[in-house]
C-alpha cells in the first residue's frame, strides 16, 4: 500500500524584507514579498527522500493561508511533491496557533495520511509548536525536531539533538514529525520540475469543507490576543573605532567602564 505523506508548509513574509504589523495587529502581508518558509523546504526535502527510499509513496503539500500562499505550494510541487491542498477562507484571517492546528488537523484527516512532515518552526511566528499541537489533535506519536529521519517497515526513526542529550527516537506510523535545518540542504527545483508543477493538482478547501465553524478560528476566535505592537527603537548609534594597534585595549577600556571587567 502506498505511503501517504502530508507536508505542512507555510507561506511567510520574507525575513530579509521590512516586516510590519497591520492595523488589526496581524502580520502585514501586503507590503512584503511572501515565499515558502525556508525552514519548510527542509520538510519537503526529507519527504522527497523518504519517498525515494519507499516502494510506493505519494506526497501532498498542505497550506493554510491566503490566496498568495499558492506560491508556496507551487514551489513545493516544483521540488517534486505530487499534489497540493490549499485551505483558504476569508474567515481564517488572524487565526492563531491553536486555530491553525485545528484547521490543519482536519485537512490532514480529510486528505488521509500515514506520515505528516513539518518544518521546525515558521520563520515569521517562530513558535515551533504546530507539530506538537498536530500530534495532540490527531492523537498520533510526535517525533519532532529531527536532524535525521527515515521510514521503514511502518516505523519512523530519527535523531533529536536536544540541549542536554542526543536522542534516538522511534514510533509506529501514523505519526507527526518535524525536521530541523540540520537534516540536509533542500534541493532546488529543476526546470523540468517547474514545468511539471504547473500541471499538478491543487485542491482548494474552505471551512465548510472541513466542518469548522467560523467562530472557532480567525481573529475573533483566536485563543490569544495581541494588544499592542511597537516598533523597537533603533539602537542608539554606538562608538566605532578602527583598530590601529590599540583596538583590543580600547575595547577593554569600554568593557571596564560598563563594569564587565
Amino acid at each position: 500500500m502506498s505511503l501517504r505523506i502530508v507536508v505542512c508548509v507555510k507561506y511567510v513574509p520574507d525575513a530579509t524584507g521590512d516586516r510590519h504589523f497591520a492595523e488589526d495587529l496581524t502580520v502585514d502581508r501586503d507590503d512584503v514579498d511572501g515565499l515558502l518558509s525556508e525552514l519548510d523546504e527542509y520538510a519537503v526535502e526529507q519527504a522527497l527522500q523518504i519517498k525515494e527510499a519507499a516502494d510506493d509513496a505519494e506526497i501532498t503539500v498542505l497550506t493554510v493561508g491566503p490566496e498568495d500562499a499558492n506560491d508556496a505550494l507551487r514551489k513545493a510541487l516544483s521540488m517534486g511533491a505530487d499534489k497540493a491542498v490549499h485551505v483558504e477562507d476569508d474567515d481564517l484571517h488572524g487565526t492563531d496557533a491553536l486555530g491553525t492546528s485545528l484547521v490543519l488537523a482536519k485537512a490532514i484527516e480529510k486528505t488521509g495520511y500515514d506520515l505528516v512532515v513539518c518544518g521546525m518552526a515558521s520563520t515569521d511566528g517562530t513558535m515551533g509548536v504546530l507539530p506538537a499541537l498536530l500530534a495532540e489533535r490527531l492523537n498520533v506519536p510526535q517525533v519532532t525536531l529531527l536532524s535525521e529521519v527515515s521510514v521503514a517497515d511502518g516505523k519512523v526513526t530519527g535523531r533529536r539533538d536536544g540541549d542536554t542529550a542526543s536522542e534516538q527516537l522511534e514510533a509506529a506510523l501514523p505519526a507527526v514529525v518535524s525536521v530541523t535545518d540540520q537534516s540536509g540542504e533542500a534541493r532546488y527545483p529543476s526546470f523540468k520540475g517547474i514545468m511539471a508543477a504547473k500541471k499538478k493538482p491543487v485542491e482548494s478547501l474552505d471551512l465548510d469543507d472541513l466542518d469548522i465553524d467560523a467562530d472557532e478560528v480567525g481573529l475573533d476566535g483566536a485563543w490569544t490576543k495581541v494588544e499592542d505592537a511597537t516598533e523597537r527603537p533603533a539602537r542608539t548609534a554606538g562608538t566605532i573605532v578602527k583598530d590601529e594597534g590599540e583596538g583590543g585595549k580600547q575595547l577593554a577600556e569600554f568593557l571596564a567602564g560598563q563594569k564587565f571587567i
Binding site: 525575513a15 530579509t16 510590519h20 495587529l25 496557533a97 491553536l98 492546528s101 515569521d124 517562530t126 513558535m127 515551533g128 509548536v129 499541537l133 500530534a135 495532540e136 492523537n139 506519536p141 510526535q142 517525533v143 525536531l145 536532524s147 539533538d161 540541549d163 542536554t164 542529550a165 542526543s166 536522542e167 534516538q168 527516537l169 522511534e170 514510533a171 509506529a172 505519526a175 540540520q182 483566536a222 485563543w223 490569544t224 490576543k225 495581541v226 499592542d228 505592537a229 511597537t230 516598533e231 523597537r232 539602537r235 554606538g238 566605532i240 573605532v241 578602527k242 583598530d243 583590543g248 585595549k249 575595547l251 577593554a252 569600554f254 568593557l255 571596564a256 560598563q258 564587565f260 571587567i261
Partner: protein, 320 residues
C-alpha cells in the same frame, strides 16, 4: 491568592536558572506551585522554596525517560486538574514549548511562547514578546482558557522569596496513547565547564571570520577570561568548526545576555534574531560596512586575530 503552576527544568534535581526566573515572574501573578517531574524532588524543593514555591508537586515514573514529551503532558495535566491554577508557566526550551502546546489543546487554552516579560493585567497576565527578529515588541494575553505561557531565559532576575516549598506527591497515570514515541537511546552531551549558552551573562561568538575550527580557541580564550559562554554563527557551524548546540540565531539558540561579543560575524537577520535583545552588544569585524555595526554599543573595525587576543590579555591583566 490564585496559584500559578511553574514547570521545573532540572538535570537530576539540579534546578536550572530559567526556572528560578519563572518563579520570580509567577509571583507577580499569584502563588507559585512548582511541578517537578523526575528524580530528586526533595533536593530541588530546597532551591524552589527559596525562590517562592509554596508547594512542589512531584512525580517520578519511568515513562518520563522512556517516551518523548507526552508522558510529561499527562503529568502536568494531572497537576493542572489538582490545582486549577490561574496560569501555567514553562521555560521556552524546545521541550517546554511542546509540553505547553499539548497541554493547551487538552485544557482548551491559548498559548503564548517566548515571552521576555510578564505582568499581571486586568484580564489576566500580559506577556511581552520580541518578534520579527526583535524589530517589534508586542504585548499579548491569552483570551481563552487558562493562560499557558513559555518564557525565555534571562527574562527576569531570580529573586529570593522564601516560602514553604512542601513536597507533595503527584499521582500520574501515563496513557497508552502517550507511549507512542520511544526514546531508544540517549547520549548525554559532554559538559564544557563553561556556562550554559542561554543562561550566560556574557556570550562571545565567532563566525565565518574565525576561519577554521583550529582558530576557535581564540574565541574560547576570550570567553574564559570573561567567564562567558561560547556561541557561533550558522556559517561557522555549517562549516563544521563548532557544534550546532552553540549556534546563535533563528535556528539555533536565542540569547539575551548582559554582554554579547560578536567576532567575525556579519550580522545577518537570522543571526540578529537570536541576539538582538542582548543588553550590550560589541562587535569586532574587519569590514566597516558589516550590518552588525548597526547594532553595537561598541565596535572595533579590525582583524579579530589582532583584536581578540589583545583584548583577552588586557582582560586577564585587569582581572589580575
Amino acid at each position: 491568592m490564585a496559584e500559578v503552576l511553574v514547570y521545573v527544568d532540572h538535570v537530576d534535581g539540579a534546578v536550572r536558572k530559567p526556572t528560578l526566573e519563572l518563579l520570580t515572574l509567577a509571583r507577580r501573578i499569584g502563588e507559585p506551585v512548582a511541578v517537578h517531574l523526575g528524580p530528586n524532588a526533595e533536593e530541588a524543593a530546597k532551591v524552589l522554596a527559596e525562590h517562592g514555591a509554596v508547594k512542589v508537586l512531584a512525580a517520578d515514573v519511568p515513562e518520563f525517560a522512556e517516551y518523548l514529551v507526552a508522558p510529561k503532558v499527562d503529568a502536568l495535566q494531572a497537576a493542572y486538574d489538582a490545582v486549577s491554577p490561574a496560569a501555567v508557566l514553562l521555560p521556552s526550551s524546545a521541550e517546554g514549548k511542546e509540553i505547553g502546546a499539548r497541554l493547551a489543546v487538552r485544557i482548551g487554552s491559548g498559548i503564548i511562547t517566548d515571552a521576555v516579560d510578564l505582568e499581571a493585567g486586568d484580564e489576566g497576565p500580559v506577556a511581552t514578546q520580541s518578534v520579527f527578529a526583535a524589530s517589534y515588541t508586542t504585548k499579548s494575553r491569552v483570551s481563552k482558557g487558562t493562560p499557558v505561557i513559555t518564557v525565555k531565559p534571562n527574562s527576569a532576575a531570580p529573586e529570593a522569596a522564601p516560602a514553604a516549598g512542601t513536597v507533595e506527591p503527584l499521582a500520574v497515570t501515563v496513557a497508552d496513547s502517550s507511549k507512542g514515541t520511544k526514546i531508544v537511546s540517549r547520549t548525554p552531551r559532554e559538559s564544557t565547564g563553561r556556562p550554559e549558552l542561554t543562561e550566560a551573562a556574557i556570550v562571545v561568538s565567532g563566525g565565518r571570520g574565525v576561519n577554521g575550527a583550529e582558530n576557535f580557541p581564540v574565541i574560547e580564550a576570550l570567553a574564559d577570561s570573561l567567564g562567558a559562554a561560547v556561541g557561533a554563527s550558522r556559517a561557522a557551524v555549517d562549516a563544521g568548526w563548532y557544534p550546532h548546540t552553540n549556534q546563535v540565531g533563528q535556528t539555533g539558540k536565542s540569547v539575551s545576555p548582559q554582554l554579547y561579543i560578536a567576532a567575525g560575524i556579519s550580522g545577518a537577520i537570522q543571526h540578529r534574531a537570536g541576539m538582538q535583545t542582548s543588553k550590550t552588544i560589541v562587535a569586532i569585524n574587519k569590514d566597516a560596512e558589516a550590518p552588525i555595526f548597526d547594532l553595537v554599543d561598541y565596535g572595533v573595525v579590525g582583524d579579530l586575530f589582532d583584536v581578540v587576543p589583545a583584548l583577552t590579555e588586557e582582560v586577564k591583566t585587569r582581572k589580575g
